[in-house]
Amino acid sequence: MTAQVTAQGTPQSRRTVPVQQFLGLAGILGFLLTWELIPRAGIIEPRFLPPASEVMAELFRAFGLTAFWLSVGETMIAWFVGLLMAVAAALVLGFLIGSSAFLARATSSSVEFLRPIPSVALIPLAVLMFGVKIESSLMLIVYASFWQVFIQVLYGVADIDLVANNTAKSYGLGRMARIRYVVFPTALPYLMTGVRLAASVALILAITAELVIGSPGLGREIALAQSGGAISGMYALVLATGLIGVIINMLMRFIEKKTLSWHSSVRSEVVL
């Protein structure tokens, strides 16, 4: 999740890329083969760990079911709405607090104290207040992902180039204009890092809420499949959550690349 150090452009990279992809594919196949063999050889009983082929078949069957896509949709809606709310709140508060030295100092102790509180601690509160509705998921998602973005925005606003800011001032740019043309571009790379981290945290919390609280979505389906004894169905759903995670990661990296294409340095990210 952190620090993508790109080591591209080495002379032999063009030749080695297919070899690497081939090896990666072989790795995945090897993993699936091991998984297939462990229950077949009886190391773990098949009723606890069904062979890979059975789970894959179950996953492909699920792809054809409306119910599966409905719960994927419910998870994704909670993920997206929660992420959006967290990013919006973190942006506004981050810029507000970050650009005032007094506010930044006055809030820092509270932030340092509130941030490490694990969002799962709020699960009982969410259950009491909202029950098994999507609001419970949203409460956990927003709390967890807010801090990721907020902290990055604070770093980003603090990273502002004083010369650039003073230049903008002496050219008569107003406060809003400076935020738009000086502060925002400075903070954008940090913001994108925060959003990328928040996106995977939001998925974790969405699934957690569904699993533990029972708000609708993939997590609840996993819990139901497990307690109902539909074991290969449960493994198929677990694979599906992994696939969603991979897709979200890829999507976020893509968006980050697109929005920061103007950014000259391939920044090695701040250590979180």
Binding site: M1, T2, A3, Q4, V5, A7, V19, Q20, L23, G24, L25, G27, G30, F31, I44, F48, L49, A106, T107, S108, S109, S110, E112, F113, R115, P116, I117, P118, S119, V120, A121, I123, P124, L125, V127, L128, M129, I204, A206, I207, T208, L211, V212, G219, I222, Q226, I231, M234, Y235, L237, V238, T241, G242, L243, G245, V246, I248, N249, V271, L272
Partner: protein, 257 residues
């Protein structure tokens, strides 16, 4: 006067918030949000008894065992995978997939494989926390400075000495970043594994309070979890400052220049 001012900055907002909370619960007692005084009393009653031995310490023990094992295995495997090129290419996509799986779904899976035992909870924590450490170590080992690496080779630094004096230090900023994520995931998994399947532990106790509508007790449990999170974060920051002192110093010099 300056220390007075920084003290005011430190406690000003928290005090203000507690004051607002106290004022808001002053008139009519709210069922969901107990007054600060009641909460403080309950906190003492609930957590400073035998519960600290029966629930809090076992939970913390599992958390520590899981996190320590995850860090150890993660760094060791990361060093190996990171320094062998074909192994990295072979395993990286599979590992990326494992990292993308939201760790909480491992709870029902491992419950099935191992039953509801203490070791299952530790394994849940290990198998959820290991990925950030492992992948960051691989990334850090891969990004070892080429000149340094060549110099070390020229001077005949090899084997364990190479790992100890070249690879580990230069990967340590990334490893620490991984450990930070690992700690927060570990705490989440500790709570979830107890909420989902357990008859003791912090997570279980808190859910039990919530189900019996013991609201002040539930809030006191939330505060315990918060305090654990804060304590872990402070311990981590302290350790990081010591381990990465050279790194932060180097950054400062670079930024100044």
């Amino acid at each position: 006067m300056t220390w007075l001012k920084s003290l005011a900055y430190l406690v000003g907002l928290p005090l203000l918030l507690i004051l607002i909370w106290w004022a808001a619960t002053l008139g009519r007692p709210n069922f969901f949000f107990p007054a600060p005084g009641i909460l403080m009393d309950t906190f003492g009653e609930v957590w400073f008894g035998e519960r600290i031995l029966s629930d809090v310490l076992p939970s913390l023990g599992r958390l520590l065992a899981g996190v320590a094992a995850a860090i150890g295995i993660g760094i060791a495997a990361g060093l190996l995978i990171g320094s062998v090129k074909w192994l990295r290419a072979l395993l990286e996509p599979t590992l990326e997939f494992f990292r993308a799986v939201p760790p909480p779904v491992l709870v029902p899976v491992l419950m099935l494989l191992m039953g509801i035992t203490d070791s299952m909870k530790v394994v849940v924590i290990i198998s959820g926390c290991i990925w950030p450490v492992l992948l960051n170590t691989i990334e850090g080992v891969r990004a070892v400075d080429g000149v340094l690496s060549d110099s070390a080779r020229t001077y005949g630094v090899a084997g364990w000495a190479r790992v100890r004096y070249l690879v580990l230090p230069s990967a340590s900023p990334q490893i620490m970043a991984g450990i930070r994520q690992c700690l927060s995931i570990g705490l989440i998994l500790m709570v979830i594994s107890e909420m989902f399947a357990s008859s003791s532990g912090l997570g279980f106790t808190i859910v039990q309070f919530q189900r019996s509508f013991a609201i002040p007790e539930m809030w006191s449990g939330i505060i315990v979890l918060g305090l654990i999170g804060v304590a872990m974060s402070f311990i981590f920051q302290w350790t990081e400052r010591r381990v990465l002192r050279w790194y932060h110093g180097q950054k400062e010099v670079e930024n100044a220049g």
